[in-house]
């Protein structure tokens, strides 16, 4: 079960749809974990989308390497982490020609970070598609110390930078690629509600 239906939320919260092929054209594809399955599905619907594709796959424990290699993208790269490919990804964005499309697939954390990087590089928002697969862990910015905590799965959670206990908002910044975390016991220090798994 890698597809998730998110509950309706506020307008700043990103929504995701299955990737849609724009055919053979310059393309960057970046996926992590179960996101590889979304790329495989896209290629099955329209194999031509791979003709000019630069594919970057971060397995994060998933095992799609054989099938991903078999797609025979123009360029294919496997990486151990997002941090490890940041420089490569930035270069791909900087080298991108007019009309290049970006396909992102996988966790919200990867999609958020990678879309923010692409927007900062000048890619228009309309050229970016994102399909969520797998974990619903969130990438959260602490509004107080500004540190980002990756892979947040509970609400509230502890900021990995300043240690405040934060609640998980749906308010999302595309520029930061992160949701907003706000101190949950600001008015009544020490009165922290019980941690719950976040829901889609």
């Amino acid at each position: 079960m890698t597809r998730v239906t998110f509950s309706p939320s506020i307008l700043s919260r990103p929504v995701y749809a299955p990737l849609e092929s724009h055919g053979a054209g310059p393309t960057i594809m970046l996926c992590d974990a179960e996101g590889a399955a979304a790329i495989l599905d896209l290629a099955e619907r329209d194999p031509a989308v791979m003709d000019y594709a630069h594919v970057i796959y971060i397995p994060s424990g998933s095992d799609y390497t054989v099938r991903m290699r078999a797609l025979e993208a123009r360029q294919y790269h496997e990486a151990p982490s997002y941090d490890a490919i940041t420089a490569r990804y930035r270069k791909a964005l900087a080298d991108a020609t007019m009309g290049t499309r970006l396909y992102l697939a996988g966790t919200e954390g990867l999609i958020g970070k990678a879309a923010a990087e692409a927007l900062a590089a000048g890619l228009p928002a309309q050229a970016i598609q994102a399909e969520h697969r797998g974990s619903i862990a969130r990438r959260m910015q602490c509004v107080h110390c500004k540190g980002v905590t990756e892979d947040v799965t509970t609400d509230p959670f502890t900021c990995s930078h300043c240690g405040l206990t934060l609640f998980v908002r749906d308010h999302f910044s595309r520029r930061l690629g992160a949701f907003q975390g706000v101190c949950v016991d600001a008015e009544t220090p020490g009165e922290v509600p019980e941690r719950q798994e976040i829901l889609p």
Binding site: I10, L11, S12, R13, Q141, V143, H144, K146, L164, R169, D170, H171, S173, R174, R175, L176, Q180, V182, C183, A186, E187, T188, P189
Partner: protein, 359 residues
Amino acid sequence: MTIQFNDETFRDDYTFFNSPVAIARFPFPFDKDDYMYSVNMEPHETGPEGTPFDVRFDVDEHYVSEMRDRAITLDEDPLRCQSLPHMELAGWDLLELIMVSKAADYPDLFTLNRDGDRWHWINKPLGIEQRFTFGDPTTLPYGPMEYITRQAQGDFAVLDQREDNLWMDAGMVTSQADWSLDFDIGMNFFEWHAPVPKAHEMGVFQRALKFLMHVNQDTPARRLNWTMTVNPRLDTSPENYHKWGPEKRTITPENVGQKQYLRVELQTFWRLPRSNALAFPIRCYLINLEDLTSVPKWGRRLHRVLRDLPDELADYKGFAVNRPVIVEYLSKFDDGAPTSAGIYPDETDVALNKVPARV
């Protein structure tokens, strides 16, 4: 016109106060006895005399102390003032608008001499004199938006207009009702308003956006917004919520009249000539319940508005926890008498309270 500037604080010992003149000219936001979101936009025309609506950018007795408070906040957190790279021209537009307006509306306080692009600005209340070249940021100690908004009361958002939308791409935000410029910068109109309950479903933002995109240089607009704040604190930012949050729980029936403030935002909207950006000043006015109820019409009306406000709005505005105490306090000032239309005090109200009829 001479203004006596208060020496006061908006944090720690909270020595902020409103003089009788400031009370009488307070921009009370409710024109009737109930409240719901609406596109309450109107032309920013001047008048009536003495009110905050009488000039383009109101300067009042809190000016000098408010600017001092802004400087403290900026020292602690420079991210309260940000401008995306494409917004510098809009910063110059804003600087021009504010300097020209202040110099014309308060000639005894501000002077602007212009010789081509060589400008000479004098701000007497803050003791600033600056010669600079308009358009050349190296001739100012800060970027143009930061320079001028360190000398102008209220927060400032500067909105870029493109793709049929308005984008929060620059701002100076140190006296906000709990929103973060650092988080919201770069968002479009619908994204940064996303957390507001009910109003999206009511179509308020769609209509407001249409209106705002058609604001022209010669048709500035305004609206009033409001919330409730404990203590006269300008910096009610999410960044510092864990610092001011505990103060919200200090309201008691004994102190509510003095510690609980109605916080009013006079929002104005200005089309900027070179950048086509929209300047969006958000000027904050604070008044505690004790001073507010000295105007009988306002006491009656605020009681009815807060008593009948939908729970979602009280939650969103962040005073649900104190509402029972506030409403109980205000009920003593509501004799059930009918109230007159509009926001201004009645003639008899003013006479009763011995505040100048013309302020």
